[in-house]
């Protein structure tokens, strides 16, 4: 097994009596793209800043290969951690040109020109090198921030909501580009975001945070398909949770029997994803189609159950009409809590 690049162990951060990061642990493998996903105020940015050395943790360890970033006796200064940091507002130095921004962190002057040239090409900034920051667009500033960080050859790049100030299309393009650059340069990265689509798109592995704690760590697939709790499930896609009664592999609910991912008994909560269900006309059913929305590639159907509404995705060609009586069947086993 390869050795982790970064090991976070039982890390906590307090602001006064408020606990922003509560005992979190995770590993980061060399070359891995990792994401911390959570709603605002969940402590993800504080955790990131603690790894960078910009915030002092109250306890825990941060280990970078054989180097201790932080433990009860060490607190390595941020400028000695050789870690890249991309800020939400890019933090491009306004009084320096694009070129000077990119070479700002370079200590070895002999490599200045070659590094600059390589990075300008890598990020497509050649024509902007001599400009001042206020003369280029937000997307380009983001590229400058990336180039500036890569210039110091960090083994780890930390990114704090780097795409939130860009429009969705540009953000997606830049995200893919940056991921590819990181992969080709062998740089590990941690992305902090509140946007699950962004996290899925970027990360090899990710952690979901809530109120300072990590709820679950895994690949995007694992987190989507096998969430450990309703809280985790609610971060991804359309999450509808109904109650039922588990009896081994199945649970009885008021939409019928539903297969479960893991055997259990007794009352439980079951996660139903819209794409994980089929609809079939059934004259005996008590479930009635309430509304239909056409979304191009598919239709989203609202089904009225005795106590709630459930959204089900069907093919765009489906002939189901409003007020039809229907039956719902789960195609795959569902997560239950």
């Amino acid at each position: 097994m390869t050795k982790a690049l970064l090991t976070i162990k039982e890390l906590s951060c307090h602001f006064g009596s408020f606990c922003a990061v509560d005992n979190i642990s995770f590993d980061l493998m060399p070359g891995e793209c990792f994401a911390l996903l959570g709603s605002s105020g969940c402590g993800k940015t504080t955790a990131l800043r603690a790894i960078a050395g910009l915030e002092k943790p109250s306890q825990g360890h941060i280990l970078h290969l054989d180097q201790t970033f932080f433990d009860h006796q060490t607190d390595l200064a941020p400028n000695l951690r050789n870690t890249g940091f991309i800020f939400q507002d890019y933090a491009i130095f306004p009084h320096l040109s694009i070129e000077e921004n990119i070479t700002f962190g370079l200590k070895d002057k002999s490599q200045k020109q070659s590094t600059l040239k390589r990075l300008l090409t890598l990020l497509g900034l050649e024509e902007h090198a001599k400009k001042m920051p206020h003369q280029v667009s937000g997307g380009q500033l983001q590229r400058v921030a990336i180039a500036r960080t890569l210039a110091i050859k960090p083994s780890l790049v930390l990114m704090d909501e780097p795409f939130s100030n860009l429009d969705a299309k540009l953000a997606r393009r830049l995200r893919n580009e940056i991921r590819q650059i990181f992969k080709s340069e062998g740089v590990s990265s941690i992305l902090v975001t509140h946007n699950q689509e962004e996290a899925f798109d970027f990360a090899d592995r990710m952690a979901v945070m809530e109120q300072g704690k990590i709820l679950q760590i895994g690949t995007p697939e694992e987190l989507y398909q096998k969430p450990k709790s309703a809280q985790v499930a609610s971060f991804f896609g359309h999450c509808q949770i109904i109650s039922g009664h588990a009896q081994g592999e199945y649970a009885t609910t008021n939409i019928g029997e539903v297969p479960l991912q893991k055997n259990s008994d007794g009352p439980c909560q079951i996660l139903l994803r819209p794409e994980n269900m089929r609809l079939a006309p059934s004259s005996e059913s008590q479930l009635i189609v309430k509304d239909i929305r056409f979304l191009g590639a598919r239709k989203e159907i609202t089904v009225q159950t005795p106590d709630s509404e459930i959204f089900v995705n069907v093919s765009a060609r489906s002939a189901i009409k409003i007020s039809d009586k229907v039956q719902i069947t789960a195609i795959e086993a569902c997560a239950s809590f």
Partner: protein, 504 residues
């Protein structure tokens, strides 16, 4: 900075007997009464001029808007004693007015409330103007528009919506004007209206420190109350402001426009042009008799510039850590640093000068006495104008995103290198502005130079003061013009700061 408070209290406590005498004098309560009356009338007069000035300028299309804006604020940077002198030279017996019209001005300008009130009102009204104008720019017109749509006519909207929204800036502007009026020394001294500051100086002149200290303490207490009131007013009501508020600018009907223009011309004439014209008149009159330049004009200018340079340097040196703590740190010192402009306003120049004399006359540091050295006026001015320096540095510092410094750290620069390469270059405009403001304010500062000047050294302000005292109107003209010219430069920095402040 708290030295003046300490010294006044100590002096007052040390001399109970003398004070009993003072309380027994008939003139104590009338003096306080005159001071307060002058302050309140000036605040009211200032508001009557400044509020319409700000309102029309913010809401109507007026030709030459930029110039009017500048001229409305300009009197603020005039040294008050020069304005006072100019009104004296215009309206007093044998003044500009009398020479021009052949008649005496109907109201005596000296020895009464009127002259001092007029001078103080015209000089200080820009304070209210600045606050009101800034508030008007922040106000979203949609409030007024919805009031119109709810069925109110423009006059009702003005009194029900617009004016109440300006209540806070107008009130805090008026309080500051009242405070400046109370603590101003030059104007009442020149126009002979017997206020507290007038007596402080008189008692000092006669060497009775305790009486001066008593009035000085009284001044500090009243200033404290006013400032507390001001900050209380500002906190009392939350504001909904829209920083990117659209502005509706109306076209006035020709008749109304004419009235507006007459209003601006007359107020600006009285506050800016008349003083300038008067001084120029006396200047030209002097040239005929070849007495234009006072003998030591060059020497005293050089002395003043040295003093101002040193005071500005020291002020900035103190201002940087103060601003840094106020914005970036928490704790007792940060709160103190944040309230520093409050303290600065509490101790007018006269009070600082008095405190410095009575403290340093016996104080020795390692056997070295600062008394009657250059250090006294330098320190006095540096402390007096520290709030200006702090506010300039703070304005600049507030615009530096702390992420920039963090980014530099993350790129491998330690904190010293970061401060040199990132913070310092970005702070430069604030440092320069702060330096310039303190420099100019020190050049103008009358009471501190008057009280703390080393024997045998003459400053520009003293020069002007003595000449005014001797009624050498034409001799005053040249140094007064010089000082007015230099003072006007500070308007640039003040406008810059106010504009950036209202933008963020």
């Amino acid at each position: 900075m708290l030295l003046p408070l300490y010294v006044s209290v100590k002096d007052v406590l040390d001399s109970k007997n003398e004070l009993n005498l003072l309380f027994a004098t008939r003139d104590l309560w009338p003096t306080i009464g005159r001071s307060l009356l002058l302050a309140s009338l000036t605040a009211i007069g200032g508001a009557l001029i400044a509020v319409p000035q700000a309102w029309f300028l913010a809401r109507y299309h007026i030709p030459g808007k930029k110039i009017i804006l500048i001229l409305c604020i300009l009197p603020l940077v005039f040294p008050s004693y020069i304005s006072a002198y100019s009104y004296l030279a215009a309206f007093d017996h044998m003044g500009f007015y009398q020479n021009l019209t052949g008649m005496a001005f109907p109201i005596p300008i000296r020895n009464g409330l009127f002259g001092t009130w007029m001078s103080m009102t015209l000089v200080n009204s820009p304070l209210i103007f600045l606050m009101t104008y800034a508030a008007l720019q922040r106000q979203s017109p949609s409030q007024e528009e919805s009031a119109r749509l709810l069925g109110f006519n423009p006059t009702q909207v003005f009194f029900k919506i617009s004016l109440p929204a300006l209540k806070i800036p107008i009130a805090s502007g008026m309080l500051l004007v009242a405070l400046y009026t109370l603590s101003d020394f030059g104007t009442p001294a020149i126009l002979r209206y017997k206020t507290m500051t007038y007596y402080i100086f008189r008692h000092l002149d006669r060497g009775s420190f305790d009486k001066a200290s008593f009035f000085s303490l009284l001044l500090i207490i009243i200033a404290f109350i006013f400032l507390q009131l001001e900050s209380w007013i500002n906190r009392s009501q939350g504001r909904i402001t829209d920083n990117k508020a659209r502005q509706i600018i109306k076209k006035a009907k020709p008749s109304k426009l004419l009235l507006i223009i007459i209003f601006y011309s007359s107020t600006i004439f009285m506050a800016c042009l008349l003083p300038l014209l008067t001084i120029l008149y006396w200047f030209s009159k002097g040239r005929n008799s070849e007495l234009v330049f006072p003998k030591n004009l060059f020497d005293s200018s050089f002395n003043s510039a040295t003093l101002a340079f040193l005071a500005a340097i020291i002020s900035i040196l103190f201002a940087v850590p103060c601003a840094w703590c106020a914005l970036r740190k928490k704790g007792l010192f940060a709160t103190f640093a944040d309230r520093i402009s409050f303290l600065g306003n509490m101790f007018p120049g006269l009070v600082i000068g008095l405190a410095f004399i009575s403290f340093f006359v016996s104080f020795k540091l390692f056997g070295y006495s600062f008394y009657q050295t250059l250090w006294l006026p330098v320190l006095g001015c540096a402390i007096r104008f520290l709030p200006q320096a702090v506010s300039s540095v703070k304005t600049s510092l507030a615009q530096i995103n702390p992420r920039l410094e963090e980014a530099s750290l993350m790129l491998g620069h330690d904190s010293v290198s970061t401060k040199l390469r990132i913070t310092a270059p970005l702070l430069r405009p604030g440092l320069l502005a702060g330096f310039a403001l303190v420099f100019i304010s020190t050049l103008k500062e009358l009471p501190i130079t008057l009280l703390l000047a080393q024997p045998g050294k003459f400053y520009l302000t003293q020069n002007i003061w003595n000449l005014i005292d001797e009624a050498e109107y034409s001799l005053v003209a040249a140094p007064a013009l010089l000082l007015l010219g230099i003072s006007s430069i500070s308007l640039y920095f003040i406008l810059n700061q106010k504009l950036t402040k209202s933008n963020d």
